[in-house]
Symmetry: D2
Subunit: 246 residues, 4 copies
Amino acid sequence: MINVLVWNENRHEQRDEKVKSVYPDGIHRAIADFLKEEDHKVKTATLDEPQHGLSDAVLQETDVLVWWGHLAHGEVEDATVEKVKQRVLDGMGLIVLHSGHFSKIFKALMGTSCDLKWREADEKERIWIVDPGHPIAEGLGEYIELEKEEMYGEHFDIPAPDELVMVSWFEGGEVFRSGCTYRRGKGKIFYFRPGHETYPTYYHKDVQQVIKNAVNWAKPADLPVPVYGNAKPLERIRVSQEGVEN
Amino acid sequence: MINVLVWNENRHEQRDEKVKSVYPDGIHRAIADFLKEEDHKVKTATLDEPQHGLSDAVLQETDVLVWWGHLAHGEVEDATVEKVKQRVLDGMGLIVLHSGHFSKIFKALMGTSCDLKWREADEKERIWIVDPGHPIAEGLGEYIELEKEEMYGEHFDIPAPDELVMVSWFEGGEVFRSGCTYRRGKGKIFYFRPGHETYPTYYHKDVQQVIKNAVNWAKPADLPVPVYGNAKPLERIRVSQEGVEN
Amino acid sequence: MINVLVWNENRHEQRDEKVKSVYPDGIHRAIADFLKEEDHKVKTATLDEPQHGLSDAVLQETDVLVWWGHLAHGEVEDATVEKVKQRVLDGMGLIVLHSGHFSKIFKALMGTSCDLKWREADEKERIWIVDPGHPIAEGLGEYIELEKEEMYGEHFDIPAPDELVMVSWFEGGEVFRSGCTYRRGKGKIFYFRPGHETYPTYYHKDVQQVIKNAVNWAKPADLPVPVYGNAKPLERIRVSQEGVEN
Amino acid sequence: MINVLVWNENRHEQRDEKVKSVYPDGIHRAIADFLKEEDHKVKTATLDEPQHGLSDAVLQETDVLVWWGHLAHGEVEDATVEKVKQRVLDGMGLIVLHSGHFSKIFKALMGTSCDLKWREADEKERIWIVDPGHPIAEGLGEYIELEKEEMYGEHFDIPAPDELVMVSWFEGGEVFRSGCTYRRGKGKIFYFRPGHETYPTYYHKDVQQVIKNAVNWAKPADLPVPVYGNAKPLERIRVSQEGVEN
């Protein structure tokens, strides 16, 4: 049983009829609903809640954080971003979805601009599994086909993924590294591309399977606690040239 | 011929007699001197110069930036760090030395705390080459032996290096990933551990060879210019379900 | 519950009193004993059994294969090595221990010579965890200390590990990448260095913990089945220059 | 100035009129011709020459070997494959083209089946540069467009590339990791997908640029010579529990 927090900006849902019709209770609710099928303890939080719903207490008890944002990355408080980053370094899993590539938290963990090409043209996306041995690929076939999605295209300015799990084909001629894992500190991060707010992508069984697998892959474990700072020697250090033995 | 800028905090040299005796003209001058043997165009800059010696003009013409800092990482202006980071993403090479692991620029590019263990005890360091096929290893033997250095020990909180070139053995019992390469955007980064300010490390022929090799490895080239943002399709996108052809 | 097969050459145990006194029932029994504590279904096999105990039936039902060999790598039948390799590509996990670095199966999967330095001198080994977030590091501390082991030293001629989990420090001055993961096809491979036959290394609680973790990490899952060969197009291919539409 | 050997199976050219019309002097001559523009010392060799044109003397003086094969991988002598592999581990560069993915040498260095999907249907290939900072991408634009090529599609059973430089988009709906680097021993390997024998692919300026860049990237240098085997300690090893000092 994993404690999952699904964080969503939740601004599109307020102002865009099309989005509201696809996700009447918000993208966060749609994602939380299918994650609950896995017997996880799932909570949600949105940008406009106090502290963005990411208080110290909430973050401390979160095992895996799922993040969707798009219009208002800049409104996420820097202090909150710093706390989320620290939790990832301490072992909390992080799953970044779609336009979350431009979130402050993802850019802070990547160190790059995370820029890319994009196009909204109702085009087909085919997500090929290029690493069929990866746990995140469990229960999937050779590819996932999405009838209509927003195109994201290379060059995607990210560090080379620690593991490249999926690469997408787009009808308009582009490709994109759409399933990428990273390790930062003790935390595991998975970036997963699909999820434009006007398409029912998060109702797609395969997309749901990927996110379920990712939550399971990213959960923390009982891991070593590194010790930093000034350290006493574990071995005897010999006499140095000036004749002083330490 | 490469335009190299050697940046040094240059505070130790002002206040510490021991450091002044080892590096009378500053660590930056010592490094610049041996880099000039390679017919590079070498400049230096220090923390206390206006804009830390890192104006837009200087950064624009710099091919590779070498960075040494220790006591005053926090005094480097955030705006300057952001400009240096952007230059790296655009292709400028960056070589981070020793205590520069805690510099704002290195931490920003890594996304981790970059923390580690340390000890000042005049102990021997043996830097093993674990990737003898790497260009940065050119002209070296199996290892580099430093009579006395400051110990840095694992766990070193960095992302897994894109390439691990060197691993150090310390007399007191620790190991450390001491030669690590990273790619960020179009830039190449090399972290190289040795260089405690009270030891004549930068006069060591093998240490000099590594830094010379790294400058050559990190230099930019005539590379593709990525295009980001809204992109027209390169292929015809078929009729969508709503009957609209794009 | 995982089906584990522990394969051991079992020649030292026949001819060397010292080894017999440390592992009276063979290294394979010692390893199988602690793996059974995890409720796995554990079998053993040795070189001198018919087909080396690696018949098609046995291999088909094996989820994770643990391999220890030293004196007689050359006596393992090439046909058997090929079958083991195919099982790994199809998803069977493989844990290669100590002198198994020179086994035919490990060299076949690596593509390199797997050569290294060595020394039998009763020296201390300290295995540092350099990736404390890795599942194989679960339940461990900062390092594992082995009072006496055989030294293995860099340069270790392996491909750069997909993940470097541990690096060893040796009393005599060397370092070694002692915990390395690889992916080949759908299979997961973990190379773990310690285990010289005259030392009670496989009774050490931390060494046992690593191997238990590795078995859990390497087990196969319900993963996509790749399809190879001549493939029909998934999209309509336009008229080519010669006017032929495919 | 680099010593390059272009090895081609040269069987298609003997039996297929279409191939003969595209490459009248053989694929090897076409590739050697453009490499000579770079002032390299370029030789060629084919399958049916004595020792496949790969005698010890020839291999010793070769800095970079370029390999194209398709119909007759099995006819390359195992002993020759072993010698080529050893040269790569010792530092010779290797560039494997197109159907060379199934060559004995590439499979031996990879450790996987190297299987993939394929289709001959005169379809468009667009090779996207996903790592614009890589030296192999020098002088290129965002992508290379090939009017007609043979499709290769994922899943491509290779180890995760050390560096993924290019990903291809195919008209029929597939993607493929088409520009991949690997390090084996001291050698550098580049796999580059395009080059079906009935298309004029090796006359394409961008394809030529990639191969020129790859030769430059893969060339050996004056690198450390690893030492293997029984090694004397570099440090004094203390008294062991039995009281013997080594």
